[in-house]
Symmetry: C2
DNA sequence: AATATGAGGTGACAAATGTCATATTGTCAG
DNA sequence: CTGACAATATGACATTTGTCACCTCATATT
């Protein structure tokens, strides 16, 4: 019997997946969580065979949970299950050593199959991802990301200087560099691009 | 037997809801769609008793579909099912005369109950919404919304003038007014605010 | 000791943005 | 017809943004 844990903040999907996977004769859902923190704690305690993990969750996101599980040498296998084919996410998940990365874009039957494969030691990745998308790394340094996040909220250069203790010239230099790296024409477009790619 | 139609662009949730509701002894899922356009066509043809309708779908969103159904005097009842408690969405749904507005934040059992109530002529709304949130109307005119949408993508004033056939002064006046209405300090912050509230 | 390298900074400049007061024009109720 | 209104436009202005060349200083590297 495969022991499953599901972490997913959209309760409707969580309960739907729970009910349906429980109907499979060889699986049992032993726990659920709607936040990353909750999930981490429960997984360490319950040691499920496989965790289905959403990325965008409150408190701690699914990638952080996956990374932390590896750090604590958990035996549970992780399948990331997300809406987003964002290259940044995928790459980070692979680096964290997850056993699968699926998009919420397939049928559930596929999901059950995938779980069985992972239990048997295989790795599974949505084909949409592995093909072209992989090598698009986040070109932004951590500092640039931090600055762009603030700019995306509409903060002015001056406000950013105050939050980050930098001079206004420096902030403008950073933003100029960000705009150049992303091929944007102004900070707003840069923010729009980076958000779409999952880089900030 | 209640005849259901489900429109939802996240395939995993679509198929999960489909399977689970089909298990209910008094319901039958007679159709599914993953885009608004598809949904509209199928609903007009199949005339289901109840449609579950996501808002954010490609081609035509769920609210537009609901409005169009009313316009064509469809007999099918509509329950909006969405992640977002955005006041703008809710208000528009109510105006369109939908029979229910639920958040994807509850269990499926609740959903089945809600469907039965709607069939019996009741209306159901997630309590989170009706309480406080209602009276926050979208302060932006359609034109302002259109302009702000473009600005949110990082388009410059000049690019906006070309798309909308307005002079640059007019565009700047509009943006100035938008910024004022939203209490923002620049177009980027205005976009950020409007997006969060579901106004653009 | 000599030299990269990287984080942060200056100053100058052109362009874009935001504000405001003031037109022009067309539509529509009275 | 007239006056109110909405949509669009102008011009003038102060600020903010984006670009670029060059500076400083502390660590690493050789």
């Amino acid at each position: 019997m495969i022991r499953l844990f599901i972490a997913e903040d959209q309760r409707m999907l969580l309960s739907a997946l729970g009910s349906l996977l429980d109907l499979e004769t060889d699986m049992k859902v032993i726990g659920q969580a709607t936040s990353g923190e909750e999930a981490l704690k429960a997984i360490l305690e319950l040691e499920p065979d496989v965790c289905l993990m959403d990325i965008e969750m409150p408190v701690m996101n699914g990638l952080e949970v996956a990374e932390e599980l590896v750090r604590r040498s958990s035996v549970s296998k992780v399948i990331i299950l997300t809406t987003f084919a964002r290259p940044g996410y995928f790459e980070r998940a692979v680096k964290a050593g997850v056993q699968g990365y699926l998009l919420k874009d397939g049928e559930i039957d596929e999901l059950a199959d995938a779980i069985r494969k992972v239990v048997n030691g295989k790795r599974i990745f949505s084909p949409e991802l592995t093909v072209n998308v992989f090598r698009e790394e986040n070109p932004l340094t951590p500092k640039e990301q931090e600055i762009l996040k603030l700019a995306a909220l509409g903060k002015t250069t001056k406000e950013i200087t105050k939050e980050l203790y930098l001079s206004s010239g420096t902030v403008r230099n950073y933003i100029s560099e960000i705009i150049h790296k992303l091929g944007a024409k102004n900070r707003t477009e840069a923010a729009s691009i980076a958000e779409k790619k999952g880089w900030i």
